[in-house]
C-alpha cells in the first residue's frame, strides 16, 4: 500500500505565504503607529521597504514619537536589530548562498525567514533555502503593502488622539513583547526595562530612558549568562 506524500517544497511554500499574510497584519499597525508618531506616509513606507525589520521599525518610530532625538531613535533601533546579525551568521553557514545572492538575502533576514530556514534545517539545505527565500519574499510583499494601508488609513484620521491611537501605540509594543516572555530572565528583563525607563524619564531627554533600558538588558544578560555558566 502506498501513501501519497505531500510535496515538502509545496508545504514549505504554503507555510511561507501564511506567515507572510500573518505578519502583514502587523504591518497595518506599524503603518498607523508610524503616522501617529509623526512620520509621513512616505517616511513610513521607506522604513518598511529599506529597514524591513519590525522590532527596529517600531522602536525607531516609538522613540521619535516619544519626543526622542534622532540619535536616541537610531541607537535604539540598532540595539533591537542586533539579533539580525546573529541570524545572518547562522543563516550564512546553513544556506551557503552564492556570494552574489548574499546582499539580497541580508535584506530579507528577519525573525520569520530565519526561523523558517532553521525549522526546515533537518530536511536539507535545499528545503532551508526555499523556506528562507519564500518566507522572506512573502513577508516583504505583505508587510509593505500592509504598511501603506495602515499609514494611509491613519493619515485619513484627523484627530489621532480622539480615536485613541496614542493608546494603541503602547498596546502594539506590548503585543510584540508578550510572546517573548517565556522565561524568568525574560520576565525580569521586561520589568527591569519598564522600571528603568520610568525612573529615568524625569531626568533624561526623551528617548534616552528607553536606550538605558536596553543597555540594562546587557547587564542582566551578563548576570544571567554567568549564573548559568556557574551551575556546572
Amino acid at each position: 500500500m502506498s501513501v501519497v506524500q505531500p510535496n515538502p517544497m509545496r508545504l514549505i511554500r504554503r507555510q511561507a505565504i501564511v506567515i507572510g499574510l500573518a505578519v502583514g497584519t502587523y504591518g497595518v499597525s506599524f503603518g498607523a503607529i508610524s503616522v501617529a508618531s509623526g512620520l509621513s506616509v512616505a517616511q513610513t513606507s521607506v522604513l518598511s521597504l529599506a529597514m524591513f525589520t519590525g522590532a527596529s521599525q517600531f522602536a525607531l518610530v516609538g522613540v521619535l514619537g516619544a519626543g526622542g532625538s534622532v540619535v536616541a531613535a537610531v541607537l535604539t533601533s540598532v540595539l533591537l536589530g542586533l539579533r539580525n546579525s546573529a541570524y545572518g551568521l547562522r543563516l550564512n553557514e546553513l544556506l551557503q548562498l552564492p556570494t552574489t545572492q548574499r546582499p539580497i538575502a541580508a535584506q530579507l533576514t528577519i525573525d520569520e525567514s530565519a526561523a523558517m530556514a532553521l525549522a526546515h534545517e533537518h530536511q536539507g539545505q535545499a528545503a532551508s533555502r526555499v523556506a528562507f527565500w519564500w518566507t522572506g519574499a512573502a513577508v516583504f510583499l505583505f508587510w509593505n503593502f500592509a504598511t501603506l494601508v495602515g499609514a494611509l488609513g491613519a493619515e485619513a484620521i484627523s484627530d489621532l488622539d480622539a480615536w485613541g491611537l496614542d493608546g494603541a501605540v503602547p498596546a502594539g509594543f506590548l503585543a510584540l513583547l508578550w510572546p517573548q516572555i517565556r522565561s524568568r530572565p525574560a520576565a525580569l528583563a521586561a520589568v527591569l526595562g519598564g522600571v528603568v525607563a520610568l525612573v529615568a524619564t524625569p531626568w533624561l531627554p526623551p528617548g534616552v530612558p528607553v536606550l538605558l533600558a536596553g543597555l540594562g538588558a546587557i547587564g542582566l544578560a551578563v548576570v544571567v549568562a554567568n549564573r548559568l555558566g556557574g551551575d556546572s
Partner: protein, 99 residues
C-alpha cells in the same frame, strides 16, 4: 525625521549583512546570545512604559492607561495582534471621551 529613517535603515541593513560577511565566534558566545534575546524585551517594555505614562519628561496618568489595561486583558485572553491594538485604541478613546 528623514535623517532618522535613512540612517536607521542603512544601519539596519549593515547589521543584517554583517552575519553573512563575517563568520565570527564572538556573536556565538553565551553572553551575546542572551543579550540579543533580552534586549528587545527590555526595549519594548521601556517603550510600553514611556508611551503610556510619559509626556515628554513628565510622568502622567491619562486615558492611555485604559488602552494598556484593555491590551493586557486581551493578551491574556490570547486575542490576535490587530484585535489587541484596535481594542486599546477604542478603550483609550472611550476613556478620553468619558473623562
Amino acid at each position: 525625521m528623514w535623517l532618522a529613517v535613512l540612517i536607521g535603515a542603512g544601519l539596519a541593513y549593515l547589521q543584517k549583512l554583517l552575519g553573512f560577511l563575517v563568520p565570527n565566534a564572538f556573536l556565538a558566545r553565551p553572553v551575546i546570545r542572551t543579550a540579543t534575546i533580552l534586549m528587545p524585551i527590555s526595549l519594548l517594555a521601556a517603550l510600553v512604559a514611556v508611551q503610556t505614562f510619559a509626556v515628554g519628561t513628565t510622568l502622567v496618568v491619562d486615558a492611555r492607561v485604559a488602552g494598556l489595561a484593555a491590551a493586557v486583558l486581551l493578551l491574556v485572553a490570547r486575542a490576535p495582534f490587530i484585535v489587541v491594538v484596535l481594542a486599546a485604541a477604542a478603550a483609550t478613546a472611550a476613556a478620553r471621551a468619558l473623562a
